[in-house]
């Protein structure tokens, strides 16, 4: 599922970010891989708020990434969850 950004600025609202918690994501380059190995799937592990900036933390097995809303929509694809 692709994420559409709308409105002004590239910031998540706190509600948007918290709704993404525990969602599963893959990097854009892997979105068409049908037999995706487990280690390519990450999940939204946390939300960071500093002043007005809200960013999400994404945890992959060997990587931790911190992304703004624009970066998140550019680099990640949300996976359908059961």
């Amino acid at each position: 599922m692709n994420i559409e950004t709308f409105g002004f600025g590239d910031q998540f609202t706190a509600q948007e970010a918290f709704e993404l918690l525990n969602s599963h994501v893959v990097k854009k380059e892997n979105e068409n891989n049908k037999n995706l190995p487990i280690e390519k799937i990450g999940y939204v592990a946390g939300v960071i708020t500093l002043n007005d900036e809200v960013e999400v933390m994404i945890k992959f097995p060997k990587q931790l990434i911190q992304l703004t809303k624009t970066a998140f929509s550019e680099q990640m694809t949300l996976l359908e969850m059961p």
């Binding site: 918690l21 525990n22 969602s23 599963h24 995706l36 487990i38 280690e39 097995p61």
Partner: protein
């Protein structure tokens, strides 16, 4: 061990034509090298009849297998890896017979590659590895001496470590890098790292050569078991030889401390069973359902299948497979949290006969969540290669716990027992005696660094253990939890800590940690220097001191203990009763073995009573 270095019996190439025709591959028969009296080895004490008499341990009928180049090639490899030469020999001949020489040589080449990292031969003995580590640490030490404690030294030394697949902390301008350089210049640090690599690589080759399975050696190879025995023997000797003393002069050996801690398998098992039983009582009280799941990895992770080597095997180690399960579980856990499902229970990791791990999970949850939980776990369990044959049948097994048929604790008790000491069990799944099987599972988990038992959800066991040390408290929340813990009632403890389902931050009691500072006196100036650094210069991690509730600290560790280190050479076994005590402590019968050896050294054999207790093979 060093079969390849048997002095050759032949030094000169025979010119007998019939023998040459037999020994030399057709394509090489015209080569002048083989039709002269070319001297092959000049310093042999004996002369042989045939050049291939000192071949690579192949049976005499197979001595002339392959070409001259192939002979030198395999001889060098067999010599390099003495642990495997029998097995390599049989595999080599089988591949040669079934396929061709090229495939057989390729097989040897791959095995050799997997045991050699640059100039480091992992098949070397520990003594040889020690020499190697001393040399490499000296090399790093010289680099540091030349360039100083700076980034250049760090990068050069990091390059050396990475060459041997050893990862070190990344360079961070804000973080001190001196501890990393101190480690790289220490031969003991290198030995710990490389010896770990060594035993894991050797064990993995055992798995590749089908030496770890129900027909050869279940769960772990004989090499792994021997290695674990030596390790435990050294640990016990250290525990017996060293003492700790407190400010009141009370002295105990480290062994006495070991016996009373959860490192003692008996205590570990009892504590685990108490916790499982407690969770079950909580679940019964709350009306929660019990579920028992078994997760098995895709077939590509199994080295051995259906009585033969698995052609799909992707060379993954048990550690890799456990990593796969861990990654899988992270996704399952986050998916469950997304659905607001918070199960609690335990998981146990145990090996299949070929060393590939699988997970048993006991979970309690609200009955309405059972269906969703099953569907989520099933989806992720079958996400990788879920369409392969037999996947749906074998990869994910689920059972609802019916209290009329048996308790949840009963379901998992056999797995706990099988994986700790094998007591209360007759045999394992493959018909082996449970106690030696437990020893092998212990060797397996130690070798691969796999954590076998883990609690899922529920309150912290660290708090439980500290509460059992606590003497008194005036805080009502702490007193409630203390009474429950002191009476060994996990269910009451869970309720006192806010129930089974509560985020950790909301629990009433938390562990309290403090950094230990060692004070030393400068002899020249008399100045007291406070030191909180480790041997290598890292800042010490805080250690537990007590419990904290509503910002009030309840100290549980009030005494100051100091270790009295004695040189290992001064160790003399105190008496036989102590050795007998050790036998009871650990499932691996190492101490019986050493007891038998020590007695033999003293010219006395085991008594009848001791023989009854000790395994037969150790009493010989």
């Amino acid at each position: 061990m060093d079969g390849g270095s048997i002095p050759p019996r032949s030094t000169t190439l025979k010119t007998d034509e019939s023998q040459l025709n037999q020994a030399i591959a057709p394509r090489n028969r015209g080569c002048s090298f083989f039709v002269s009296d070319t001297q092959l080895v000049s310093d042999s004490p004996k002369w042989a009849t045939e050049w291939h008499d000192f071949d690579t341990f192949l049976p005499s009928s197979k001595n002339n297998t392959g070409t001259r180049e192939s002979y030198s090639f395999r001889k060098a490899i067999f010599k390099r890896h003495p642990y495997f030469y029998n097995s390599l020999k049989s595999h080599y001949l089988r591949i040669y017979d079934q396929k061709n020489l090229h495939e057989a040589d390729l097989f040897l080449y791959k095995i050799d590659k997997s045991l050699v990292i640059h100039d480091l031969n992992l098949s070397s003995t520990p003594a040889e590895i020690k020499v190697f580590c001393e040399n490499i640490s000296k090399k790093c030490g010289l680099t540091i001496a030349e360039y100083g404690l700076n980034k250049t030294s760090y990068q050069i030394c990091k390059g050396i470590a990475n060459k041997y697949t050893i990862q070190i902390d990344s360079y961070d301008a804000d973080k001190p890098f001196i501890p990393t350089l101190n480690k790289l210049a220490c031969s003991n640090w290198w030995f710990r790292k490389i010896n770990k690599l060594r035993i894991q690589y050797i064990e993995q080759v055992h798995r590749k050569l089908n030496l770890v399975n129900k027909d050869a050696s279940c769960y772990a190879s004989k090499f792994a078991l021997e290695n674990r025995k030596t390790q435990l023997e050294n640990s016990f000797e250290y525990l017996m030889a060293n003492q700790i003393v407190n400010e009141d002069g009370q002295t105990y050996t480290l062994l006495d401390v070991y016996k009373k801690s959860v490192s003692n398998p008996r205590i570990r098992k009892a504590e685990l069973m108490t916790r499982i039983r407690g969770f079950e009582e909580v679940a019964t009280k709350m009306g929660h359902a019990g579920e028992f799941y078994t997760l098995t990895s895709p077939s590509k992770y199994h080295a051995y299948s259906n009585g033969k080597a698995n052609p799909k095997f992707n060379d993954s180690t048990p550690k890799d497979v456990n990593e796969y399960f861990n990654n899988n579980w992270k996704l399952i856990r986050s998916a469950l949290q997304k659905k607001n499902i918070h199960p609690y229970g335990f998981r146990v990791v145990e090996p299949h006969h070929d060393g590939t791990p699988h997970w048993h999970i006991l979970l309690f949850m609200h009955p309405d969540d059972v269906k969703t939980t099953r569907s989520i776990i099933s989806k992720y369990a079958l996400r990788e290669d879920g369409n392969e044959r037999g996947a749906k049948k074998h990869r994910f097994d689920m059972t609802s716990i019916d209290p009329n048929k048996g308790s949840a604790a009963g379901y998992i008790a056999k797995y706990i027992s099988k994986n700790i000491d094998g007591s209360d069990l007759d045999d394992d799944l493959y018909g082996n005696d449970a106690k030696p099987a437990a020893s092998k599972i212990d060797a397996w988990s130690s070798l691969w660094g796999i954590r076998q038992f883990q609690q899922i959800g529920g309150p912290s066991v660290t708090v439980w253990r500290e509460l059992r040390r606590l003497k008194e408290s005036e805080q009502s929340e702490v007193v409630d939890a203390f009474v429950a813990a002191d009476s060994g009632d996990w269910a009451a403890y869970v309720m006192a800590m806010g129930g089974a389902i509560l985020p950790r931050r909301n629990r009433p009691i938390h562990p309290y940690y403090e950094t230990k500072i060692i004070e030393t006196v400068d002899i020249d100036t008399g100045e007291i220097i406070q030191n909180n650094l480790t041997y290598y210069g890292d800042v010490k991690a805080p250690s537990i001191k007590g419990l904290i509730n509503q910002n009030v600290i309840n100290l549980t560790r009030t005494r100051i203990w100091k270790k009295i280190v004695q040189p290992m050479t001064t160790f003399v076994p105190k008496n036989e009763s102590r050795n007998k005590e050790l036998v009871k402590l650990h499932p691996i019968p190492i101490v019986r073995n050493s007891l038998a050896q020590k007695l033999r050294r003293r010219g006395r054999s085991l008594s009848n009573e001791e023989k009854r207790e000790a395994p037969l093979d150790l009493c010989k």
